[in-house]
Structures are given as structure tokens and as C-alpha cells.
Symmetry: C3
Subunit: 346 residues, 3 copies
Amino acid sequence: MMLTVQDIAARLQGVAEGDAAIEIGGLAGLREAEAGELSFLAEARYQNWLAQTRASAVLVARDWSGACPCTVIRVDNREAACVAAAGWWAAPVPPVEPGVHPTAVLGRDVQVGEQASVGPHCVLGDGVRIGAHTVIEANCVLGAGTVVGDHCRLYPLVSVREGTRIGHRTLIHNGAVIGSDGFGYDRDGPRWKKIPQLGVVVIGDDVEIGAHTAIDRARFGKTVIGNGVKIDNLVHVAHNCQLGDHCAVAALVGFAGSTILGDGVQVGGQAGFSGHLRVGAGTVVAGRAGVIKDMDGGQFVSDFPAMPHGKARRMHAHVMRLPELKKKVDAMEARLRAIEGQGASS
Amino acid sequence: MMLTVQDIAARLQGVAEGDAAIEIGGLAGLREAEAGELSFLAEARYQNWLAQTRASAVLVARDWSGACPCTVIRVDNREAACVAAAGWWAAPVPPVEPGVHPTAVLGRDVQVGEQASVGPHCVLGDGVRIGAHTVIEANCVLGAGTVVGDHCRLYPLVSVREGTRIGHRTLIHNGAVIGSDGFGYDRDGPRWKKIPQLGVVVIGDDVEIGAHTAIDRARFGKTVIGNGVKIDNLVHVAHNCQLGDHCAVAALVGFAGSTILGDGVQVGGQAGFSGHLRVGAGTVVAGRAGVIKDMDGGQFVSDFPAMPHGKARRMHAHVMRLPELKKKVDAMEARLRAIEGQGASS
Amino acid sequence: MMLTVQDIAARLQGVAEGDAAIEIGGLAGLREAEAGELSFLAEARYQNWLAQTRASAVLVARDWSGACPCTVIRVDNREAACVAAAGWWAAPVPPVEPGVHPTAVLGRDVQVGEQASVGPHCVLGDGVRIGAHTVIEANCVLGAGTVVGDHCRLYPLVSVREGTRIGHRTLIHNGAVIGSDGFGYDRDGPRWKKIPQLGVVVIGDDVEIGAHTAIDRARFGKTVIGNGVKIDNLVHVAHNCQLGDHCAVAALVGFAGSTILGDGVQVGGQAGFSGHLRVGAGTVVAGRAGVIKDMDGGQFVSDFPAMPHGKARRMHAHVMRLPELKKKVDAMEARLRAIEGQGASS
């Protein structure tokens, strides 16, 4: 869809400055935009990206003052304007047809709620219960006794092992695995003897789980993902972990067994947790941090082993000044030797 | 299923101390348990968790002495008691029906062993051989010429590329990929030219492979996973790697091409191996370690680049004491300056 | 297939030295080869592996001089000889049958190009377009409006969300996910409010994407994978990233949102990028590096936070010499104290 700058300004109740006849066919960030696209100045600190943008027009705050090489559109609320503009050029969301696709294979006593949809080639084990308005997309596999609440969406190729319980309004992205066996073995000489993984996974309401994230069932009892938790792609959640409500976990994070996060913990990408430990509510764990012991709540921790971020920064600064320290020590030693020489000669 | 503490004590031939009428509906760890659940004191070092547990009853050793806020059940063998108790509340394992599901698509000359099961929507290429009592769950795809031994289980959505050979009693969890192309290219000016990946993957007996683990086929020859190897979720095994018998590899580990592990090597989560290197038998590689050269057997190595763990600990301690060292050097310099001043004035 | 050393020498127009009657049944690296296999001396620096190889014959350069415990075959071009030999023992590549498998489920207005193949249990949404000679293997799911060019191959269980555009001659390995929602939320008190992910993914020509790699759709606009890009297994590419032409990315790398790589950037395994940053063309990012700010092109960077590799090496050397520095400072202090003592006594 092509819109002129003038059209856009009118739709957003904004004011165009510059060439208002230019045709715009998309929305992108300042550094990604190409000619014929609209961009936006999200925060003042990105101001210096304006000079190099290839965008044909940029959304700015009503009272913004600064130089811009292209047309600007002044709006009251850049955030709302962006969301509106994004919608004009969004990929069309495919419609969902309620009902069970004839190629799906259902076990005994499966219940599918009102207006729910089960896609082609899905396989639902005995006793599976799917809530109202929930969408199970193509080629998903749900084990016996799985319960999925209302208004959930499982994207294609998700697999859920037997006995898993999922709340309402939860989204699970392509390929995620819920309820796979935990990784537990006893030694038997040089061999490993499997410890049966007899528990389940319980996932709350309003949760979002990323593509290819794997959440293992508990050894016994349950692995718990609290309400409102958001997990990015390719995350590993081992058996018996408990993620408190509203935690947010970025991609490629690994939680070893029995890691317990309090409510509202945030975890940056590629961080790791060594298991059998507890992180207090509200703590922020930086990307790539390695947590190997209990952490109090309300902190910002980083580095490996994880420590308060201020301390980690100081340690890093000390390391980066090591060449200087070395030089200083060498110089001092020369001075010391000179003094010793004087002493000897005196 | 609800059981009274008295029932539980009777089943475990144990002795209840405290309220034996409480009803119990599950088993969980001391820190995870809720009211109405049974827990256990696995090791003496977790004793201080007892005071805060919400469990309604706790399994302890027959001769244990200590304070507990709730009912205790004394048993001879806590480990065995736990395993028994876990079974009472385990998710029911769905039964497997032998035979090939009518929706599965089989190529030419496919052999399916006695009592084996091929689930809905599976696709088996020409010449695939499935051993006796092996279960291939829903929506798996096995390439031409794949051989799977007896008593294996492939969970849903596993894919295996052509020519892969899998031993007996091996478990492969949801979504694992076996035999994908290795990552190999030659330079061709600015372009990358694909090096054909002509080999296969060979997996031993009694192996377990985690959800979403990807094991690449060899450039030529074979990528080898030895007998009894256990691999957790989201692990990357590149082309031509060889994992010796009874290795254990935690989640999110990456092995670059031609990494060779001796027998019984253990690897912690998120560790990495830079390829074309060899780790001797029995070595333990700590979580997040980065191995970039050959390592002798029988060691415990950590850090990046990986080194003997004792050395890594000492280095880390030195770094953590850098502020102190810096302060000491500054103080020494002041003293030195004072001496030099005296010398000048004398 | 078994070949004698003599047969092999004849096929490769080489000269055998040693027992030419030995039967050979495969090709493998010097350290992986077993008796009855052929190996090769790829580079002079691997010469010392020759002494321990179990291979029965080794390909060497025509003019190579050195000791080898087994038969050697001298050839003009070891690389070409290896590729040829690898082909003799390669797993047979299964033939592809053009056309749409009867079990595939196609939406409205799907176009499948000449000689293209859509495998069993695939699901193609409305308006999907598949180019000529492209192969979509079993159990793939392609969302509405997806466009795949000519001569592509999607291996089994790949899923592609709506609106994705894929160029020509691109390979996507098993289980990869293209176009999943980006990970974006606004704060709403303790809760996270989902930011709609309205953009798409655009993938160029001659791209290769590894098993279980996940590439998220843009918040708006597009996530871009340039022409000739090669991505290994289990890589996370967040929303709005742009990978320039001919980048190469090893396994388990994570790109946070809006990371922009110039052309020809190379990234080692398990590296991470904190997002909203730009790496200049041709820069090499070492394995496990953590990039947290813009990087100029044409560099080799490593460590976390990433810095020029030479500097990172010097810093690491300084850290490894800390015990020595500490000892030196302690000794200097003793000497200082001695001088001060003399001063006091004088």
C-alpha cells in the first residue's frame, strides 16, 4: 500500500514539513529504512542517526527541534503513531477456521472447546482438553491428558508431552517443546542410569514461549512457568525449575535443574543458571551472566560468576588498567633499586 | 490421588511422627513443595531448608535427628522411598499401539520390526529399517536408508536425515535433528561455496538425545555418538565430531567440527569446543567453559580459554583482589616518594 | 563399497607406495579413521598425526616427503581427490518426486512451480508461491502469502510464518523457524504488554540456514538475511536484524533486536550481540565474543565485551601473570620496609 506523506500526516493528525507529496510504502527504523519508507525518532539519543537515514520521511515529536535531511511529520504521540503506521503495512494475519481439521488424529475422550481450532495433521492423545477460542496450528502433537486453556495459540510444530497443563491466553511459538524428559542420571560404574522423569509442566496464564524453547517435565512434582512469563527463543528450562510471575527471559538462556526465580526477574540473552539456586524477585540478570549461587531480589547482576553489576564493572576496569599497573610497578621497582643502590653506596 | 501420611508410612514401611491424618496429593522438593505435598531431606546439607518448607510431610532417614516444622516420615532408604512415591503421582504414560498408523507415509522396502510402532503422520523414506519394540511417535520424518535398532523411542517431531544409523534402546526427544548437513564452505571471492556433506551420523546403544539437539552428518565418513552417551536439550554437534562412550553433555553446549571426546567425558551447560581438538577420557569440562585446544584426560577444567579448575579459581581470586593490589601499589608509591624526598633533602 | 588401494590410485591418477592390495571401505580424517579406511594429509601442520593414524592408506601431495606408518597414495590435488573419494562412499541421496503429495494440505491460490515438490503432510497457507524445482520436504508448514524462489530446498519440519519471502537456491535445514514473533513488550506495572510484531522476514538468494535456527519477523518492516549468508544450527536472529550479504554465522549465536551486520561479517560459535548496534563489513567476531557496541569493519574482535583481538590477548596475558605481579609487589614491599627500617634506624 502506498500513501503520500500528506495522507500519513492526515491519518496521524500530524503536520508535515517538507515534501508532502512523496509516496511511502513501509515503516522501518532510522538505520534500516530505505528510500520510500517512513521512519521515526524514537528517542532524542538517536538524533545523530537522522543525518544518515535513507528514509523519505520521519515521525518526530510535536515540539522537536533539530535538523533532518528529509521530510518530517510532527505528531503528539510518536509511539501511538508508530503502532498505527505499522498496522498499515503489516503482513495480513491469516484467518483461523474453527473446528478440527479432518486430517488431525484425535485419541479417546478429547474435548475441543467452542470456536477452538485444531489444524491439519495435529495429533492429540487420549483425554486432551482444548479450551474455547484456542488455536492449535498445523502439525502440533499434544500428549495424553494435556490441558490447554481458553484463547491460547500454539503455532505450528509445537509438541507437548503428556500431562502438561497450560493456562489461558498463552502463546507458544513454532517448534517449542513442553514436557520433554528432564536430564537426570545416576552413576552405575562407567554407565549412566536414567532417573525416571515422572512429573509434569504447568504453565500459567498470559505466558509467551519462544520458538524452539524446551521446557522439561519435573523429575516428580512440576516444573512451573508462572503467569505472565515471557520466554524468548531457544531457551532451556530444566526439570523442576520454577519461574515466578511476570519473569522475562531472553534467547539462548539455560536454566539447570531446580532453578527458582522470584516474580518479575529479568534475564538477558545467553545467561546461565547452575541449578538448585534461587534468584529473588525483581532481580535483573545481565546477558551472558552466569549465576552459580542464590541471589537476593532487587539487584542488577552480571558477569560470571554473577555479582552486582557495579562490582563487575569495577573489576573489569581494573583488568583493563592492568598494563598501566604493571608499568607503574616496574617503574617503582627501578626507583627502589636506585634507592637501594644509593643505600649500598652511601 | 490423595493419601494420608499414615497410608504413605505404611506403603514405605516407615514411621510417621506428627499428624498422620493429613492428606497428601503430590511429591516435590523442599523449596518447591506446597501445602498438601510430601517432600524429602535428600542430603544433610539441605537441612536448613526444612525450616521454610511449605510441605505437609517430609521423608527423612531412619536415624535423622533435627527440627522440622511439619510431620516427618522416617524410612530406611530415602532414595527408594522417593522413587516409589513419585510413581504414585506420576503423569500416566500413554499406551503405545504397535503397528503402522494408517496416516504414516512409507517409502519402498521399509521394514518395521515386531511390536514396533510408527505413529500418525510419520514419513519413512525408502529402505528405512525400524527394530523390534521401537516406537516412532507422531510426525517424525526418517530419511532413506535410516536404520533404528530395537527398543528405541523417537518422541514426536524428531527428524533423521538419510543414512543415519541408530543403535538399540536409544531415546531421542522431541524435535531433535540427526544428520543435518555440516557447516562447511570454501571461500570463492566474497562468496561461500558449499562443501558437500557426504557422510552420515552413527549413534550407539543406550544413548539419550535431548529436545532440539542437532547432530550434523559428517563431511565424509561419520559423526559418532558412542554407546551410553547422554545429551541434553539444544546441543549442537558439528560434522565429524566423535563422542566417546558414556559421555554426558548438558544443555546448550556447542561442539565445532571434528571435536573428539574420550570415553566418559562430562560437559557442563553452555560450554563450547572450538573444533579439531581432542579431550581425554574422563575429563570434566565445567559449565560455560570454552575449550580451544587438546585437553588431557582425567582433569577438571573450566573458564575460557579452559584451564585446570584450580588454576582458574586462583586467577579469578587474583582478579577479585585487584582493587586491593592497586591500593597497595599506590600506598607503596607514596612511601617510595617519601623516601626519595628524604634522599633529596638529605 | 570396497576398493583396493590400487583401484583408488588408478581412479585418482595417483601413485601408491606400500601395500596396494589392501581393501578400503571409507574415508575419514587422520584422527578419526579406522583400519580399512582411507585418510588424507590436508595440511603440513597435521603431519604429526600421521604417526598415530589407524587409517590403512593416506592421500598425500605428489611431492610430499615424510614418514607414514601405512600405505600412501600420491596425488596432484589432495582437495579434489578427497571430494572424489568422499563421493564413492557417500550416503545415497534420496530421489525427489516432483508434484504435490496427496497428503499435503494447500490453502487457496497456492502456486507450485514447474518440477517443484511438496512433500507428505506439508501445510501451505493461502496464496503461498513455490518456485520452480524447489523441494519442500515432509511435514513443513508455510504460512499464508509465503514466497519461496526457485531451486530452494526446505528440509523436513521447517516452519515459515505468514508473509515471509525467500530468494532462489536457498537451503533451510530441518526444524528451522522463519518469521516467528519478535520478543517485544512494554511495561504495564508488573505485567508485560505484547508489542504486536507486524513485519516480515526477507531472505536472499543462495542462503543456507541451519537446523533449529530461529529468525524472528520484524516488529514492523523486515528482518533481512542478505544474499549468500550462511547460518549454522541453533542460531537466534531477533526482530529487525539485518545480516549483510555473505555473512557466515556459526552455531548457538544470538543476535538481539536490530543488530546490523555489514557484508561478509563472520561470527564464531556462541557469540552474542546486544542489539541496536552495527558491525562493519568484513569484521570477524571470535567464538564466544559478546558485542555490546558498534564495531568498525575489517577488524578481528573477541572477548566480552568485545574488543580488538590483540588487545584481548594482551589483557588475558596480564591476567595470567597476576600471581607473578602480586609476588613482585610483595617482594618490593619487603624491600621498601627494609629501606624504611634503615631510615628509621639511621
